[in-house]
């Protein structure tokens, strides 16, 4: 038991928790009537993590496996646009439409994986081209440059409804997603294979794991979760619009990196990711609560990204030093 506590105290999670607690304490102390920790505000914070969470989970798995996916935000916009268009112009049941839109996400992911695995493009440029140009343009075409109102009740309910009048469905969905993927990553063979591929692709291949298959699955999954993010975004707005979730990718990646995923692959988990998301959303929200201009939030999120990288750099250097020290001591 003490061993476990010791391990936790030395883990990345612990430093994240400390950071989170310090941040909360700061905003709590300086917010009017301590409203930062009011139930409503906590709900606001969680609500603002929803889209980021979905993108960070899908994109995070890709990062752990050693690649990067910059497209899911754009894919989300495209999927949301298609949902709005289909609901408006056809009589298809909403569930069918949702499934079709998720499938669109999967298709975009498969295209990414094809370009990366078969044509050997770098994942950075391939997913950028597919995302910002093709999926982004596709979204424009679908909504014809306009904002399409969504009049479907079920979708509106998913987007804006609350259980017991208090907990939004969207929070339930995103929490379920991060928990489920967290379990998959930590407990199943598939999850283990994600780490092994990210840690050493060739060693994984030589022990019978197929990194190529993994890559296809993970990009498809990232596309699908991107689509889900886009659907929830539009359901919330009750409209399909042009830019949708486009600009949510980089903050999501930032949160994942802050939460301990390293860009080389092989590291990190969903708990860290979740803490990273909470820190970023809580931080942005705190600035709002303190009445800081929303413009500063952009500055702050950029600084937070650089801070996350620096922390990563310092801990890496720290463990290296620690290891060398341990060796000298004969441990």
């Amino acid at each position: 038991m003490t061993k476990r506590i010791n391990k936790f105290l030395r883990s990345k999670h612990f430093s994240l928790v400390v950071l989170l607690v310090m941040m909360i304490a700061f905003f709590w102390a300086f917010s009017k009537n301590h409203s930062y920790l009011g139930l409503n505000n906590i709900r606001n914070i969680l609500n603002s993590t929803v889209i980021y969470t979905l993108l960070a989970v899908g994109g995070g798995l890709v990062i752990i496996a050693g690649e990067i996916d910059l497209s899911p935000g754009y894919v989300g916009t495209a999927a949301g646009a298609v949902m709005a268009a289909l609901l408006n112009s056809t009589g298809l049941p909403w569930l069918v439409v949702v499934v079709m839109c998720l499938a669109i996400g999967v298709v975009f992911g498969l295209i990414n994986a094809f370009l990366i695995n078969e044509l050997k493009l770098q994942s950075f440029i391939a997913t950028l081209a597919i995302g910002s140009f093709i999926a982004g343009g596709f979204a424009y075409i679908v909504v014809d440059g306009k904002t399409l109102e969504i009049k479907n009740d079920a979708i509106a309910l998913i987007g804006t409804g609350r259980i017991g009048g208090f907990v939004p469905y969207t929070i339930i969905i995103s929490t379920a997603v991060i928990v489920i993927y967290g379990v998959i990553l930590a407990k199943t063979k598939f999850g283990r294979c994600v780490y092994l591929c990210g840690g050493n692709r060739e060693a994984a291949r030589l022990t019978g794991i197929s990194p190529r298959l993994m890559s296809y699955i993970l990009f498809a999954n990232s596309g699908m979760l991107g689509a889900l993010a886009g659907l929830l975004y539009d359901a919330r707005l009750k409209a399909g619009n042009l830019t949708g979730t486009n600009h949510y990718v980089f903050p999501a990646i930032t949160a994942a990196v802050l939460g301990g995923l390293s860009l080389g692959g092989g590291n990190g988990d969903m708990l860290g990711c979740f803490l990273g998301l909470l820190i970023i959303s809580g931080f942005n929200n705190g600035l709002v609560v303190l009445g800081v201009s929303p413009f500063w939030q952009n500055v702050a999120s950029g600084l937070l990204l650089l801070l996350a990288l620096t922390l990563d750099y310092l801990t890496k250097r720290g463990t290296k030093g620690g290891r060398a020290h341990g060796k000298a001591a004969g441990v």
Binding site: I125, G137, I141, F295, G302, L305
Partner: protein, 322 residues
């Protein structure tokens, strides 16, 4: 003679040239106005932003790095120069200050990449995000108008009737950097560093020193673009230039600059810029929806990369069989 012909046909630039010629023929056939003086000037005007960015970016790509902060550095420069001039600073001094700002940005990026060892793409993105926010703070999300006609003229004079000054500057930069890359020892070292970092190290060439210079250079060029754009628009806008660094990368890659470093040249980049912008313009002229134009850009990029892959594979096969 024969081998010279074969060499030209075998060059990457030749394919690009053919594609561009085909595009021009098709667009002109559909709409004769495509080759009118007015439209050519339009193409030149829109080429300048992407093209000038592509100059600095290509140098970085050739040496194996990249900078995603250029668009926002340029935007920041446009905002700063407007604010400075409104505060009464003469435009020449304001321009110099802003170029200095670009150099400092380059140093910051180089520090993160070369000293702290961050991946360029994510750390330059962080810097970019910070600038995006700072610009909004400085301007309160409003455009900053510029009331200095002398400065406006930087963006509006036409050189030789046809070339808008910014485009002319782009051409001069492309030529100058083309010569630097091709003809100077420093230029050749970019290829060495990008193409084989280990042998550069063994030969005593310091890759970090070279990429630091290139980051600074890129920051200065980005600021120049931002300033010229502000001159043309008569204002500094906190929303200007968004995404144009990605367009610059697209143009460079289209023009044969290898994403992993070590190859490419400014003539190819020039063709890439002209292909990208005339393609976009042509789609406008023949009446294609703006939305399809974005998609077309993506298709063009992926097609160029895929083509490159097949050429490379064919070359490898040829080498193996010989």
């Amino acid at each position: 003679m024969k081998s010279a012909v074969r060499r030209i046909i075998g060059a990457k630039e030749f394919t690009l040239f053919l594609v561009m010629a085909a595009a021009v023929v098709v667009f002109t056939a559909i709409n004769r106005n495509f080759l009118s003086l007015d439209n050519i000037r339009n193409i030149f005007n829109s080429a300048f932003v992407v093209g000038t960015f592509a100059v600095g970016m290509s140098c970085l790509l050739i040496s194996g790095e990249l900078d995603l902060s250029s668009a926002n550095t340029g935007m920041m420069a446009g905002v700063l120069i407007s604010l400075l001039m409104n505060a009464g600073v003469p435009w020449v001094a304001a321009l110099i200050i802003v170029l200095f700002f670009g150099a400092v940005t380059g140093l910051i990026n180089a520090f993160f990449v070369n000293v702290l060892g961050f991946t360029a793409f994510i750390s330059t993105l962080g810097v970019s995000t910070v600038y995006g926010g700072l610009a909004l703070v400085f301007t309160n999300a409003q455009n900053v108008p510029i009331g200095n006609p002398a400065f406006w003229s930087l963006g509006s004079i036409n050189v030789f009737e046809v070339f808008p000054l910014p485009f002319f500057i782009m051409i001069i930069l492309l030529t100058a950097y083309g010569i630097i890359l091709f003809a100077t020892r420093f230029g050749r070292r970019l290829y060495m560093v990008g193409g084989n970092p280990n042998s550069s190290r063994l030969a005593g060439i310091n890759p970090k020193k070279i990429t630091t210079i290139l980051f600074v250079n890129n920051g200065v060029i980005a600021s120049l673009v931002g300033s010229l754009l502000a001159a043309r628009m008569h204002m500094g806008s906190p929303l200007a230039l968004s995404g144009s660094d990605l367009d610059a990368i697209t143009a460079a890659v289209l023009g044969g600059v290898c994403f992993t470093g070590g190859s490419g040249n400014m003539f190819g980049v020039f063709l890439g810029i002209m292909l990208l912008t005339s393609f976009q313009n042509g789609l406008v002229v023949v009446g294609v929806d703006s939305y399809y134009r974005v998609v077309a850009k993506g298709v063009l990029l992926v097609a160029a990369l895929a083509l490159d892959f097949y050429r490379e594979r064919a070359r490898q096969k040829q080498l193996l069989s010989s």
